[in-house]
């Protein structure tokens, strides 16, 4: 009372004034373009499409154009056109692929639901946040080529998550390969002589483990 509260307040501000010169807990400013904080691994901004192979990103997209994300996206910012033909994916199995895959990042609200609903681990959240542009119409509409980023990029931004995904994919593919091999063996047992050679070629991807790195070439 009688001004003691005011004096107390002045003491606190004086302490902070002095503290900001020597106490890093008090001066928490990070001067952005020069200094940057480390982004947390979970940080998400806009989605990107995972491709298995950096040299041929369009050929190795994990996306099979199933359009689940397009349907689930709350603000409806994804537009996909399914291919008419099938192309072999990273595992060599023939798959549909998106001929058009657009994300309007001016609409996208970074909710990550597309990532959660994707059964193929094909779409993931990016961490690029310096996306300012002078062109607000076309520059924010990202197409398939701009969205595709290699798997090792995914590893650099979300290492833990990517390792889990890769392990899971490897397990799935191994299981699939084993199943295919078992089926082939069964078939081979049934027709030992005629299709013995074909049985080995029947699962071409089985010999290649799930590519976490692009081939050395």
């Amino acid at each position: 009372m009688l001004g003691s509260g005011l004096l107390q307040g002045l003491a606190v501000t004086a302490k902070n004034l002095v503290g900001s010169f020597h106490d890093p807990a008090r001066l928490t400013t990070v001067e952005y373009p020069e200094q940057r904080t480390k982004l947390p691994e979970a940080y998400r901004n806009f989605p990107f499409l995972v491709s298995e192979n950096a040299t041929d990103p369009m050929g190795t997209l994990r996306c099979v154009a199933c359009q689940i994300c397009e349907k689930e996206c709350p603000p409806q910012c994804i537009y996909i056109e399914k291919s008419k033909d099938k192309k072999p994916d990273a595992t060599g199995r023939p798959q549909l692929y998106p001929t058009v895959f657009d994300i309007d990042t001016s609409v996208c609200m970074s909710c990550q639901i597309c990532v959660e609903v994707c059964p193929f681990d094909a779409i993931k959240m990016d961490q690029v946040f310096e996306i300012a542009t002078t062109d607000r119409f076309t520059a924010l509409l990202l197409d398939r080529e701009q969205l595709a980023k290699p798997n090792d990029y995914y590893h650099t931004i979300h290492p833990t998550e990517a390792a889990e995904v890769d392990a899971r994919l490897a397990a799935e593919r191994k299981a699939a390969a084993e199943k295919a091999a078992a089926a082939a063996a069964k078939a081979a047992a049934a027709k030992p002589a005629a299709v013995a050679g074909l049985g080995e070629a029947g699962a071409p991807g089985s010999s290649t483990p799930a590519t976490t790195k692009p081939p050395a070439a």
Partner: protein, 413 residues
């Protein structure tokens, strides 16, 4: 030997002390006698204006820095020397701000009173510069030595309120108008405690001349307690009242009612932009500097050194140091306190500061009458004077703050 040294030291000191005057006389020496007076005056005016304009530039950045540091931010630190990477702790900021202000579009609302809208910042700046005329910046450095200097200061200062009103009214904006009303109410209320708080000083110094008042505060008790007015019971109370009233007169937080940004946008400045806004800003800082300068002159011993051996340092340096300290306290208070409501503000003036200032006047009379008490009886003088101030302070403060108190809270069971 030592006497010789003392002599040299004294002469060096006096040379340093009179350096500004010598420099001025040197420049105007070649002029005929009749023109020299005019030239000297012009040089004085130019020096004061340039000095305080640079101080203003410095203060803007310092204030932002202090506010920022109090708020745990680094503050503006980017602008340095252009086209280089040198940042100089952001000292180039005022320059950049100045360029920005100058090049911004000057918008005058269509319905505004064009002439008054233009005149308001000009008048404000003119009057606030006028107040510097009687402040003694150093031992011989007073631009205009007036017999009624203190009266002049407050006369010139009173006119600045008018400019605030003009700005608010001329803008033809409701926020500005409300701000103008608030400004009037606030300034009328605080003029009184401001003047009353300096009456004891004038009374005990026996002079309305600023130089005379400063010279009265020379000397030390026991060789280390300066005879500044603030070191007497009535002086301390008077200084506190003066300080609070000065905060209000210069529209500084917690009395920045007229431009309370959280309710009145920018008050009377709402419709001002560009250079006119900069003029307002400048005038406000000038007014603040002038009031602080007056506070230093009246209560803090003006250009007197705090300790005898420190007299070696020239007097104008001491004035500047005290002025900057007071300005820093202004900033510090701004960084800490929330704003008062307009009725609380006027109530504080009329029901608290004015009675206290009147009581303080009585204490000053007591002090003057007991000037010849010596020895142990002096302690009684101090006790009586102190009690006469603290008692009413507590009583009136209790009365004023009745109904507001920290509360305790209960919890649901």
């Amino acid at each position: 030997m030592s006497a010789a040294w003392t002599n040299i030291a004294t002469s060096a000191h006096s040379l340093l002390e009179r350096l500004p005057l010598l420099a001025r006389d040197f420049t105007t020496d070649w002029l005929p006698e009749s023109a020299r007076w005019l030239a000297n005056s012009l040089i004085t005016i130019a020096t004061v204006v340039v000095a305080f304009a640079s101080l203003f530039a410095l203060l803007t950045i310092v204030e932002r820095k202090v506010l920022a540091r109090v708020q745990n931010r680094p503050g503006p630190n980017r602008v340095g020397i252009p086209f280089t990477k040198i940042k100089l702790f952001g000292l180039g900021q005022p320059l950049a701000d100045g360029i920005k202000m100058l090049t911004k579009e000057d918008i005058v609302p269509r319905a505004a009173d064009q002439v008054l809208h233009f005149l308001a910042p000009v008048a404000l700046l003119a009057f606030s510069i006028l107040t510097f005329a009687v402040i003694p910046f150093g031992r011989q450095l007073v631009p205009l030595e007036l017999d009624a200097g203190v009266l002049y200061f407050f006369a010139a200062g009173a006119a600045t309120e008018l400019a605030v009103f003009m700005a608010g009214w001329a803008s033809h904006n409701k926020y500005s108008l409300l701000a103008a009303m608030r400004a009037l109410a606030q300034l009328i209320s605080y003029e009184l405690p401001l003047l009353l708080s300096i009456v004891p000083v004038v009374m005990l110094a026996g002079s309305l001349s600023t130089v005379g008042i400063v010279e009265k505060q020379a000397g030390w008790t026991w060789g280390f307690v300066p005879h500044w007015h603030v070191f007497t019971p009535w002086g301390a109370a008077g200084f506190a009242i003066f300080f609070v009233a000065a905060l209000a007169e210069s529209n500084r937080s917690p009395f920045d009612r007229p431009e309370a940004e959280s309710e009145l946008i920018a008050g009377h400045l709402t419709e001002y932009s560009g250079f006119k806004y900069a003029l307002f800003f400048m005038a406000e800082y000038f007014g603040m500097c002038a009031l602080c300068g007056m506070g230093v002159t009246l209560f803090l011993g003006g250009w007197q050194a705090p300790l005898p051996f420190l007299e070696i340092i020239p007097s104008y340096f001491w004035f500047a140091a005290k002025l900057l300290t007071l300005l820093f306290v202004f900033m510090w208070i701004r960084a800490t306190l929330p704003r008062l409501r307009i009725d609380q503000l006027t109530r504080l003036a009329w029901k608290f500061l004015v009675p206290l200032a009147l009581i303080n006047l009585g204490v000053a009379v007591f002090w003057a009458l007991t000037a010849d008490w010596t020895g142990a009886i002096r302690a009684i003088r101090w006790i009586v004077a102190g009690a006469l101030i603290v008692g009413p302070f507590v009583l009136i403060g209790r009365k004023l703050s009745s109904g507001i108190a920290p509360r305790t809270y209960r919890y649901a069971t």
